[in-house]
């Protein structure tokens, strides 16, 4: 495994200003991997680039310095030399490189341990490399092994369980009350950033109707449009996103909604459209492919809108409660369905007495903080289990790789022929006189040596002439041909 190497930097070894210089956004990544293909310095290669890490996994040819090669490659692709401190980079060789990849795939090396997205990003990087035909026998095997490690960690531990941000925590709480958010209505009161993220998380889980209330109706309309037609949720930095994703509000749509507002009154803007075209709903929600509709209202209209809402997220800057007990208690008492209210504002927007009503599930920012802290602590406790899975799989991978080394294969081949020879001598030896038996022994010994001479010479020549991938593939073929891995 001496030629397998990973070189790169991540959030622990390099500040963001260095990471962004080295990062390869999706459009440049494809060019970089194509450049690798055309270059004979690397036998196999794969580039992983997220906002928290940029790494080159490679099987090197002799004489290649991977760090200099990689910096030159990035400079070539970006059209300018990368002025990055070499000390920000790490390099792992052989088993350490495999361990590093397994930890990355298991999300043990992520900024927020256990985040979901990294395994998908590793798969995307692999897909790109396969399409460019820069992977070979060793990297193909290694990457599939890494996917298995990631999957095992996700299913056998709670490392990825429970959200680590306020917005997804609100969505998780909603998921504890409602089996599915499909068909549910979200009322967003105020336009705080976290509340917006929470609304996005709920929409992503299948909620299909959105009512946005704000002191300024125009802002409510703008936000309603953004939430339905806007860019993908940020997930409060929990996930490692590809670098270079632009964010912003669609100006044309906003103007259309503003036109609706000009006529005054609660402007019910028909904003049906592909709300989550880039955001697949979680499996089993039944909301796959559903579209969302949004409506903007003034803050005074909240009591009238509340009976229609199943989930309320409030985040205004009001010094007084916006959802008051006197104004809403009677309506909520008559309600048959539960209503989930998240009050993210400080000072609080929702009168806490409303939480005492039969069908009201009221949470404030402290509750969400406690939930996030609990999840992070639980993830921390799961790290040893996840590390054990990584080590277990690494041992298996190393065992598999060791089995494909030339020297042990030659030894096994020799042992195989000797055991065959011995078995036949024992079986037929009784038919010979002692003197003849001795001659037969010498004869079979010479025969075995002659038979082995050519394959041995060929296998040894592979280590000098062939590439790593070719050697491993050939050794595997020889072992399968003679059944060397089968128990005897």
């Amino acid at each position: 495994m001496a030629e397998l190497v990973v070189i790169g930097l991540n959030h622990r070894t390099a500040p963001v200003e260095v990471r962004e210089r080295v990062a390869l956004p999706p459009d440049l990544l494809a060019g970089a991997i194509q450049a690798v293909r055309a270059d004979p310095a690397l036998e196999e290669a794969l580039i992983l680039s997220t906002c928290n890490r940029t790494e080159l996994y490679a099987v090197l040819r002799a004489g290649c310095d991977p760090l200099e090669y990689f910096l030159a490659l990035v400079g070539r692709v970006k059209g300018a030399a990368v002025g990055a401190d070499r000390a920000c980079f790490y390099r792992h060789d052989g088993p350490a490189a495999a361990r590093h990849l397994f930890r990355v795939a298991a999300s043990l090396d992520s900024q927020i341990v256990g985040e979901h997205q990294i395994l998908g990003q590793v798969k995307d990087a692999y897909r790109l490399a396969v399409a460019a035909r820069t992977t070979g026998f060793l990297l193909n095997k290694l990457m599939h092994w890494a996917f298995r490690v990631g999957k095992r960690v996700q299913t056998e531990t709670d490392l990825s369980r429970g959200p680590a941000g306020i917005a997804p925590a609100a969505a998780e709480l909603a998921g504890q009350i409602f089996e599915s958010l499909a068909g549910k209505t979200v009322l967003l009161v105020g336009a705080g950033r976290t509340a917006e993220a929470a609304a996005r998380a709920l929409l992503a889980r299948g909620a299909v109707r959105l009512i946005v209330a704000n002191r300024t109706l125009y802002r409510a309309q703008q936000l309603a449009y953004d939430l339905v037609h806007g860019p993908a949720p940020e997930d409060e930095g929990e996930n490692e996103e590809p670098p270079g994703i632009a964010r912003g509000a669609p100006a044309a749509g906003g103007a259309a909604v503003a036109g609706g507002a000009a006529v005054g009154g609660p402007a019910a803007a028909d904003l049906r459209g592909p709300a989550r075209s880039d955001r697949a709903s979680p499996a089993g929600t039944g909301a796959e492919g559903a579209t969302a509709a949004a409506e903007a209202i003034a803050l005074e209209d909240v009591p009238r809108a509340l009976p229609r809402a199943d989930l309320v997220i409030s985040s205004t800057g009001s010094p007084e409660p916006v959802l008051t007990y006197d104004g809403l208690a009677d309506g909520l008492r008559r309600r048959e369905r539960p209503v989930f209210i998240v009050d993210i504002a400080v000072p609080r927007d929702v009168d806490e007495r409303l939480g005492g009503l039969e069908n009201v599930f009221l949470y404030n920012i402290d509750d969400l903080d406690r939930l996030v802290a609990r999840n992070l602590e639980r993830r921390r406790q799961e790290i040893p289990r996840a590390e054990a899975i990584v080590e277990d799989e690494l041992a298996r991978f190393a065992e598999w790789l060791a089995s494909l080394q030339v020297a042990p294969t030659i030894r096994l081949l020799n042992e195989f022929l000797q055991s065959l020879r011995q078995a036949h001598l024992e079986r037929y030896g009784r038919q010979f006189a002692d003197a003849d038996l001795e001659r037969l022994r010498r004869f079979t010994e010479t025969l075995c040596s002659r038979i082995l001479a050519r394959p041995t010479e060929f296998l040894r020549s592979l280590t000098q002439e062939g590439g790593t991938g070719e050697t491993l593939r050939t050794v595997q073929l020889v072992r399968r041909l003679f059944g060397l891995d089968e128990p005897r």
């Binding site: 369980r161 429970g162 504890q176 939480g355 069908n359 599930f361 939930l371």
Partner: protein
């Protein structure tokens, strides 16, 4: 045969206790939460074999309260095993297994040393068998309604008091638990109605007069149990459909109703 039945009678609670410990480990240690285990099917198979042997030996299916409890335990275990395969999640198993273990343990205690007299003539008849099957299904469904009702009430209490403890995110969502409770109640009610409807036919097919059966305190107690269960769950049906009772009230009725039913079944078993 009698020896084998004695061994089987004590083996079953031990096996369910082992399963309870196994599921408890899954719930508390979060180990093998999605693993498929053949042990539950194996134990259910042993249980079915013991009941079958009992039926062959005494010449009738489970008819006495003691046997019915064991039959309900088996039905619950089998239904849960199917649910576990469908849901690929064994985290709620500990609650079902606790109930299954308690039912089987109660049954085994009551059956130990109990002189089995074939005084349930109705059980020996074809009508009797018809009568027992829907009763078993009804009591099993009520058992499930009780378990899911308990889970609903516990989850609701935790969510309303903002407790992110052991139960939080280990249980299905609140509205799903409420729906499962309701569906189990509906199934139980339908089968209990069927049981009661076939009751007169059982009495008519017996060798003795219906009046004599009614004077038998054991039979009378079973009739009372079925009647009380029917009234309790009918109230829940009417409450939900006509008066729009909230899920928490339905869950409370499911739990309280099953407690009454089990108490009456145990009481009928203790009668001479």
């Amino acid at each position: 045969m009698a020896q084998a039945l004695v061994v089987g009678n004590w083996l079953l609670p031990l096996l369910y206790l082992a399963l309870l410990i196994d599921y408890g480990a899954t719930f508390f240690l979060r180990a093998r939460t999605h693993a498929r285990s053949p042990w539950l099917w194996l134990v259910a198979g042993v249980h079915a074999a013991v009941l079958a042997l009992r039926g062959i030996h005494y010449g009738h299916p489970p008819a006495h309260a003691q046997e019915v409890l064991s039959g309900v335990a088996l039905a619950m275990a089998a239904v849960y095993a199917a649910v576990e395969i469908a849901g690929r999640d064994r985290r709620s198993g500990v609650f079902v297994m606790l109930l299954v273990f308690l039912l089987q343990y109660t049954s085994s205690i009551l059956l130990a040393g109990w002189p089995h007299e074939v005084h349930a003539e109705a059980a020996a008849s074809a009508w009797g068998r018809l009568h027992v099957v829907p009763a078993l299904v009804a009591y099993t469904a009520f058992g499930f309604a009780c378990v899911y009702g308990l889970l609903y009430l516990a989850a609701r209490r935790g969510l309303r008091h903002h407790r992110f403890g052991v139960l939080f995110d280990r249980l299905p969502p609140l509205d799903l638990l409420g729906r499962m409770t309701w569906h189990a109640l509906v199934v139980g009610f339908v089968f209990m109605t069927l049981t009661i409807a076939t009751g007169p036919a059982v009495a008519a097919s017996g060798r003795e007069a219906a009046g004599h059966l009614a004077s038998n305190p054991k039979v009378l107690m079973k009739m009372v149990t079925g009647g009380v269960a029917w009234v309790i769950y009918a109230a829940a049906m009417v409450g939900r459909l006509a008066a729009k009772w909230p899920p928490q009230r339905i869950a409370a009725v499911a739990v309280a109703g099953y407690a009454v039913v089990v108490a009456l079944l145990v009481a009928s078993a203790l009668l001479p």
